[in-house]
Symmetry: C2
DNA sequence: TAAAGCGGTTTATAATATAAACCAAATATT
DNA sequence: AATATTTGGTTTATATTATAAACCGCTTTA
């Protein structure tokens, strides 16, 4: 049986990646709403995805307010696809 | 986003359930080999699946040797299928 | 200018996964 | 026939993880 990438095998991180896979860029607030997570949890999990090289996190401004934007990297895209393939062998899809 | 059943969202438990879904009965030794897990880890995870009502664990004998057989329950089957459905919404399948 | 909100981060806690240590019974070895 | 080894596990300790709570600086509003 294939290994399931532990960085992706986490509900919140998977949800974030799933969103980023189909949206090309999403900011902190949007991700928080969509995933219904707490800010603290989201912050930690974004750090992990970023540390793994699966996403990039860019801090900028919109007017005077900060804005943290996230994008999936090519490496993240690949990892996600491999994770899906591995999972399929578990789910019999 | 749907919740992912935490009992199933674990690599080893998912692997066990995946096997049991397609085999109708499997014993401890077989599951251990197939999943390449340690006996301790497997024992703990089987307990959890059993406590959740997802599998039944039956201890018997083959000659003089003990044999621990596992079967998925109807509840487990249902939970597995719901888990698969929930995951699909994350994986875009 | 104080108070309340927004957009987060850091830190503490609870839950989880995993392996290591252990155990009893059966089998093999000397 | 005693001793060592293997088999089939369970229990316990440890490391990792997920999660929420507490916190922080900056803005906006009262």
């Amino acid at each position: 049986m294939k290994e399931l990438d532990p960085i992706l095998h986490s509900q919140l991180r998977l949800a974030v990646m799933s969103i980023l896979m189909s949206v090309d860029e999403a900011d902190f607030v949007y991700l928080k709403e969509k995933t219904e997570s707490t800010a603290g949890n989201l912050s930690v999990q974004l750090d992990k995805l970023s540390a793994a090289g699966y996403i990039t996190v860019t801090k900028g401004f919109v007017g005077k307010k900060t804005r943290t934007a996230c994008q999936v990297t090519e490496q993240g895209r690949k990892a996600f696809e491999e994770y899906v393939e591995a999972l399929k062998s578990y789910l019999n899809l």
